[in-house]
C-alpha cells in the first residue's frame, strides 16, 4: 500500500532563498510529525500535528521555520531565508492516532542542501 511520500527527494538552493517541503501522509493517519536529521546525527523533533488540534511547534528552531497541514492530509514545511546550517534531511512521519502504542511510518525524507 502507499506509504508516506515526501517531495522533493533532493533540494539544492542558494542561501537566503525560501524552500517548501511537502509530505503526504498515509491516508487516515491523523498524526503527522516533522523531524530534522543532520549528517550523522539523530532525529530532531520540529513540529507535530494531531487532527484538528493546535500543532505542537515546540521544536521549531527559529521563526524562519513554519509548517501547515490541510485537515488530515498533506503538510508543508517552509523554511524562509535559508541558512547553511539548515542543510539536513527533513523527515516526515505519520501515525494512525495520538495513542502511545501506534508506530510511526516514515517517508524517505527530503535532502536539503544550502549553498
Amino acid at each position: 500500500g502507499a506509504g508516506v511520500s515526501q517531495s522533493p527527494s533532493n533540494k539544492v538552493t542558494e542561501k537566503g532563498k525560501d524552500v517548501e517541503l511537502r509530505c503526504d501522509p498515509i491516508s487516515g493517519h491523523t498524526a503527522l510529525y516533522w523531524y530534522r536529521q543532520r549528517l550523522g546525527q539523530g532525529l530532531e523533533f520540529l513540529i507535530y500535528f494531531q487532527g484538528n488540534s493546535a500543532p505542537d511547534k515546540s521544536g521549531l528552531p527559529s521563526d524562519r521555520f513554519s509548517a501547515e497541514r490541510t485537515g488530515e492530509s498533506v503538510s508543508t514545511l517552509t523554511i524562509q531565508r535559508t541558512q547553511q546550517e539548515d542543510s539536513a534531511v527533513y523527515l516526515c512521519a505519520s501515525r494512525p492516532g495520538g495513542g502511545d502504542n501506534q508506530p510511526q511510518h516514515f517517508g524517505d525524507g527530503t535532502r536539503l542542501s544550502i549553498l
Binding site: L43, F45, P55, S58, G98, D100, Q104, D108
Partner: protein
C-alpha cells in the same frame, strides 16, 4: 521526564556473530517502546514494538528485543549478523505523559558488519 539512552554510538560485529544494541529508558508511565532501522538515504523502518503484551518481542529480519522493567531496558538482539544489517538503529519511547509530542528518540547506534 521521559528519555531514551542508547549506550553505544557505534557497534561493530563480524558477519555471523550475535548483535546486541543497548537501550535504556526512563518513563513515569508504562511506555510503549519501538526499534527502528535506517538504511542510507532512507527513512526509518519499524523493526519491532513493545506495547505491554509479551515482554519478548520478535520483529522483522530476525531481530528481537526484551522489555525488562526492573532494568528499564529494551535491548535489541539478533543471533547472527548479516551484511545487510549494517545501518543506523534508533530506540524510541512513547508514553501519554509526554504531552502533545509523546515520542522520544535515542541518538542512534550505527551498526557495522565486518565480512
Amino acid at each position: 521526564a521521559q528519555s531514551v539512552t542508547q549506550l553505544d554510538s557505534h557497534v561493530s560485529v563480524s558477519e555471523g556473530t550475535p548483535v546486541l544494541l543497548r537501550c535504556n529508558y526512563s518513563s513515569s508511565y508504562s511506555p510503549s517502546l519501538f526499534w527502528y532501522v535506517q538504511h542510507p538515504n532512507k527513512g526509518l523502518q519499524l523493526l519491532l514494538k513493545y506495547t505491554s503484551a509479551a515482554t519478548l518481542v520478535k520483529g522483522i529480519n530476525g531481530f528481537e528485543a526484551e522489555f525488562k522493567k526492573s532494568e528499564t531496558s529494551f535491548h535489541l538482539t539478533k543471533p547472527s549478523a548479516h551484511m545487510s544489517d549494517a545501518a543506523e538503529y534508533f530506540c524510541v519511547v512513547s508514553d501519554l505523559t509526554g504531552g502533545a509530542n509523546n515520542l522520544f528518540f535515542g541518538t542512534g547506534t550505527r551498526l557495522t558488519v565486518i565480512p
